[in-house]
Assembly symmetry: C2
Homo-oligomer: 198 residues x 2
DNA sequence: GCGGCTATTGTGGATATCCGCAGAGTCGGC
DNA sequence: GCCGACTCTGCGGATATCCACAATAGCCGC
């Protein structure tokens, strides 16, 4: 199980939440400010975020925005005692996972956090697969990439040769290099790889 | 442009919204109750829904639930003067497109409705494509379907023949029937069709 | 029973794909 | 200048795919 990151400037609340989650075997990290979390955040930081809205300095919402613009995809659950509807709606539409008002129900919150952690883990697994794919794609040359795109578009070799203004033999060579580098044996497998099929 | 369906038991509000949207060239249909809309709703009802939460009889939220369970995918924008955060969060997490509190900004609401209508139109176009695909799939025989699945899985004809315990020639026949019925010329195109690629 | 649909298989030939062998030109780095 | 890459091309042969022609057989409905 990955970590729940609790960002709240109220130490008492951090402690209370820390106790709650640790008692349910959810690993917790506490952060006293949006700034402190933002600074320590790395693209490979895993888990989920429990974020207070109203804090000294940077607000939870602003932290969320900054994380999004840095490409953070971690699920975020907002926690607030001062939530109003437009804020909640805005946060959810931006992709927040949940928006919970204090006082909250302990069990419910724990369930939502656990769901979010599971979601994050799944997400990261998917991305790991995509990363391997991206690495293999990166080894292709320009020409190989062009040929690959046309192959995946369903064109026959002779058509590809025409469109690129080169001989069929050359297309065949690039094609076989693509297959080798992408570790597939047929055009169909390649198509499935790139279109993200099962 | 398809229709905006306004469901509100307050005739004055329906009229006011009707004027607002008609002045922006958005076709409007008004419904005095959740029940009346629910009764007239059909799976091919297009457009988007502007839904008051608090109404006599069935509430907007309940109408939303019932529509969802009937398979309705129309975008829904909730409109309420009594919204609280948990209700808004719940509605959005169930798939509502937006949740707007009264009093609202006219221009903003119109923009959101127009976005929602465009989204619905796009969605329906996609589904129309899928329906055509489903119709073509339905014309396949058992055997053809089996062969198709193996082809799309990237198997060669000889392997398919082995797995199904039939001759290569028979596989070729089924394969060509599949291509004909699905209106594609190559295995790659077929794969793209079935995996829903661009 | 006859006609239509489905499934099966074969022969033979036209295309397409896969691949090793061979060679050649460009470009950038050591 | 040499070496390594990327690109390009041809030849020939092994496989694979596509397809027309032809035929057998079971099942279902009229």
């Amino acid at each position: 199980m990955t970590t729940l990151h609790i960002v709240d400037d109220d130490e008492a609340i951090r402690d209370a939440l820390g106790w709650l989650f640790q008692s349910r075997n959810v690993p917790v990290a506490g952060w006293p400010s949006a700034e402190s979390f933002l600074e320590s955040w790395r693209p490979d930081t895993a888990g989920c975020l429990l974020l207070d809205i109203r804090m000294e300095g940077m607000s939870g919402l602003e932290l969320f925005d900054r994380l999004l613009s840095k490409g953070c995809r971690m699920p975020v659950i907002f926690l607030t005692g001062h939530g109003d509807v437009p804020i909640a709606v805005g946060a959810l539409k931006k992709g927040a996972r949940d928006f919970v008002e204090k006082p909250f129900n302990d069990n419910e919150l724990v369930d939502r956090v656990i769901d979010a952690l599971a979601y994050d883990a799944e997400q990261r697994e998917r991305e790991a697969g995509q990363a391997g794919l991206a690495a293999r794609l990166a080894t292709l040359t320009q020409r190989e990439r062009q040929v690959m795109e046309l192959v995946v578009a369903g064109r026959l070799n002779k058509v590809i040769a025409d469109e690129l203004g080169i001989s069929m033999r050359t297309v065949e060579v690039h094609r076989s290099h693509v297959f080798e580098k992408m570790r597939v044996k047929t055009a169909v497998e390649l198509t499935r790889l790139l279109t993200g099929a099962a």
